[in-house]
Symmetry: C2
Subunit: 203 residues, 2 copies
């Protein structure tokens, strides 16, 4: 499809849904033959490629954001970093930080990313899962596979970035990592969930 056959309405829809720039949106629509959903995918892939390049740029600005449940029994504190104070003042950035804080308060995550899981914790968990699979009388050649599958599940339960945001309707079932990556694409900056704390009364 040529640029001439892309309607302003399509461009506006794509921009509204992704926050991408005018030219990037037009180019993506040309490449997707006017299919907005496909164009979103294209933009995301490109955005992630750019974001990967940004990965080693310093993210030392950002926001500290808290969320405390209205009953005062559980709360979270989160630090999200970006590269410039300009982006730290961006509404989408603040919104993402708030969404991460509310997710942390509502979940039982222990680590920001898989990298942070201590090797001994991972090994201990895998050992337990293998013993469980053995205890269930599974044949030896599938025990390993079952344990690995459960290990992935365990990581999804304990690692923040791997989790689908609790507000699945609003975020279309996207993971925190996907939301982070989109924000990074849209702002053009490296975005890092640096750390979080979560307190629940009596825990």
């Amino acid at each position: 499809m040529s640029e001439a056959t892309i309607s302003a309405k399509q461009v506006k829809e794509l921009r509204d849904r992704t926050g991408a720039g005018m030219m990037d949106s037009k180019n993506a629509l040309v490449e997707s033959d006017g299919d907005v959903d496909k164009a979103i995918e294209l933009l995301r892939v490109k955005g992630q490629a750019k974001a990967a390049k940004r990965g080693d740029r310093a993210a030392s600005e950002g926001l500290v954001v808290s969320y405390v449940h209205h009953n005062g029994k559980v709360g979270a504190l989160v630090e999200v970093n970006c590269e410039t104070d300009f982006v730290a003042r961006n509404d989408d950035f603040a919104e993402f930080a708030r969404e991460v804080a509310s997710h942390v308060a509502a979940s039982a995550v222990k680590y920001v990313s898989e990298d942070e899981v201590p090797e001994e914790d991972r090994e201990a968990e895998l050992r337990v899962l293998k013993e469980q699979a053995a205890g269930e009388g599974k044949p030896e050649d599938v025990q390993e596979k079952i344990a690995e599958g459960r290990m992935r599940k365990w990581l999804e339960e304990t690692v923040l970035l791997k989790q689908k945001h609790i507000n699945e309707d609003k975020h279309e079932g996207k993971t925190i990592e996907e939301l982070r990556s989109e924000l990074s694409s849209n702002t053009g900056e490296n975005v890092v969930v640096r750390r979080f704390s979560r307190f629940r009364i009596g825990e």
Copy 2:
């Protein structure tokens, strides 16, 4: 002074300033010859004696409270415990928790209480302070004393409960531990600052 000469106005003032009960306030005023300030001291000593007895009762209710500075660059999350949900809903309790959170955000504390300072950190700090005192050419017999004095100062800088609340005017230069102890007296429950987190951007 007999009970008959204590005015209702004095009792009211004492109760307003301490939150103590009617009979405790009257008795304290009789004992202090009608001197309200002295009566406050008496109530505090008695309150602390009661609070010490309460020290081993379970404090598993309470509030999680956060404070984030308006620029979004520094924030704190605090858990304060009491014994019953009734006290957790008390305004003074909530106010204390908020005051602790704002203090933590504004200070550079590392531990809640002196008990939490790891023995190796304390020893390392004392070693450095002794070397400093030696390096300053002080006679050997006073080096130890100088180091110990500086150690006390270091503890005051790193231990939350030992710090004067940042709002010295409002809290008359009282330490967090003094405010905690007063709240414990006034509520009749064990009050415990359980834990805190403090995030500052780029730290």
